[in-house]
Amino acid sequence: MRYRIEHEVPGRIRVCLDGAVPECDVDALSQAVLGCAAIHKVTIFPRIGSLAVCYSDASCRAEVLRHLGRIDEDMMAATRAECSVALAPRTHSLLLDIADLVGGFYLRKWFLPSILRTIWTLWHYRRYLWAALRSLAHPRLDVPVLDASAIGVSLVQADPATAAETMFLLDFEETLEDYTRARSQNELIYSLLTVPESAQLVRHGQEEAVPARDLAEGDLIVLRTGMPVPIDGTVERGVAMVNQAALTGEPLAVERTVGDDVFAGTAVEEGEVFVRVRATTGKTKLRAIVTMVEQSSALRSYRQERRDRLADAIVPWNFLLAALVGVATRDITKVAASLMVDYSCALKLTGSISVLAAMSESARLGFTVKGSKHFERVAAADTIVFDKTGTLTEATPQVTKVMGFNGWSRTRVLRLAACLEEHYPHPVARAVVNAASEANLKHRERHADVEYIVAHGLASSVGGVRVVIGSRHFVVEDEHVEVLPEVRQRIMDEMGGLSVLYLAYDGQLVGALGIEDPLKPGAAEAVADLQRLGFKHVIMLTGDNLAAARRVAHAAGITEFQANMLPEDKHAFVERLQREGRHVVMVGDGVNDSPALSAADVGVAMAAGTAIAREVADITLTDSDLQSLVRLRRISQGLDRRFDQSFRTIMGFNSLLLALGIAGVITPQTSSLLHNGSTVLLGTTATRSYL
């Protein structure tokens, strides 16, 4: 890309390109420019063919300029494929829209002959009139009727100037509202687009993990319990229960078998299917995200619903007031004054903008909230329940100890364990696989299909002999593998404080693997902050043993914890808390947390969690930093306060305007100006940051 530096200060450069940037390429160019790690912000001025970039460090200047020079048609074509502009709401043109609106208004006011201005006003009024007639046809007395009546009264009074002014303010308010909503949705969409996804590609009978965006049409992938479906495709082999709630809203999983289609954005709840790729992520990911973002507006908070209902309910009273004023004063100016002011616009506008501002700020700060009601519940919650592994502790635990029994060497134990575990997306499974690859252990697939028993472990067979790997509860109690007292003592001595995986071959214990999952940095501070922000109970639940649970809980500063919990136990525990009258936030990451996540008042899934956890959760963290939860609580409480504050301001200020208008202290025009001006101002202030 050829460019010329137009303006420069350290940390920011504005360049001029060879020509204007077509409207349809703005998003692609923006994404291509942001492909350089040093650049953190880009502003494009498409009409004049210019762009400004902000970069973090002055030493990166040369790198930034090199990157701009490297952007060519090929890079643009690749970026275009990733961001389907047709679906992404446009946002960069707010200033132009406002400039058109203001410029047009004053051009007409100053230069258009009065008669043509009147004709234009009547022509423009038809839009308000149709909206009002549509409402009346339903029949509804709502804001469009109020707006059309207020403008209509001005027209009846032969005062087209005031009518034009009122419509100008209403258009201005609408433009601003559309922009704020589109901007928030755009931020949400792009923050979600950057979340990486991987897939298990099957090539020549071997599986390998590849980034989902590298998949091509015709590839064969395998999907198992807990995995996301990253593409659209057709099942070639196997049976699975697929949760399609994100696309269809249907909460129950549907069975998918040979010949059936599966769609991106859904997740496998249980089973295993081999899927032939039909449409790749470039075509499907944005659709899945846009669907989610659109659905989020349906999940409105109780408080927002109540405000909107109140806003609609007030409108008929506006008309009643206008009628009473008309009868009492017989003065059409005062009737107009009481129609000019309504509470509804401001209540709805500040409500929805406050929520969208909270959602987009959340997306920027590292979490995705699926609907505004979840903010309300987070703000009201008094209990927060954490899963341990991958939530409080690192998502990448490590195998630090391997023991072999009954003549099995540690190498053999690790090799077989890795061979079984590599098929499942769980942090502990990844730890075993990584340990084997670090030890340079190669293995051939000699086992039969692997059966995944949620929260317990894996079972399979090698040469007709049953092998199981998993928790002590699974291997010893469910599978009845005998562990001699001296072996148990040895394990306890050597694995103190570690999580232990047991490996049994043909009914005999042959190995044990000690997994260390260190506490996440900042976990203790985050727990303390959450307590300071009003969580009375901070609880940790884990399927792990008591010693490992105690070690992590102590390090995180948590006094209430439960060990050896099965998924149904976690679910029952959350339900018991709710029966006791507590409002519960559950934070988890695995398939085994899914029931508890959906049972809690608010379920929060960690970034590295399985797709099914992210599917059932109400809020998804896009990074694994626990401080995100602290920020989430602060934003939720901030949103509550903003709702209350704006409610009081709107009711107080507009009541004052009504009173002054009816008393004849201010004219309907002034009243309209102040009312619409204050609505726009309140809407603008509602976009300010919460933290």
Binding site: E6, V9, R12, R14, R47, I48, L95, L96, A99
Partner: protein, 73 residues
């Protein structure tokens, strides 16, 4: 006042009657196209000016921020 309104109404009636015939005539059609094209060019120039102003404001704010930061240091 009433006289004015009568004139406006009569004028509107006359305009409504003869306007279609005038608009379909070739020279008027050409003039309309030229006027609309000029309007569109003016609008495009106006939008360019707005965007140029937006870019300049961005430059000024960035420079002012840099000056303040440099002074503070």
């Amino acid at each position: 006042m009433i006289k004015n309104r009568i004139i406006i109404a009569a004028g509107s009636f006359l305009l409504g009657t003869v306007a279609p015939a005038i608009l379909t005539s070739e020279p008027v059609h050409k003039a309309c196209v030229a006027t609309v094209a000029a309007g569109m060019r003016a609008n495009a120039r106006y939008e360019n000016v707005v965007e140029e102003a937006r870019a300049q404001v961005g430059d000024i704010v960035a420079e002012a921020t840099f000056v303040n930061t440099a002074d503070a240091e």
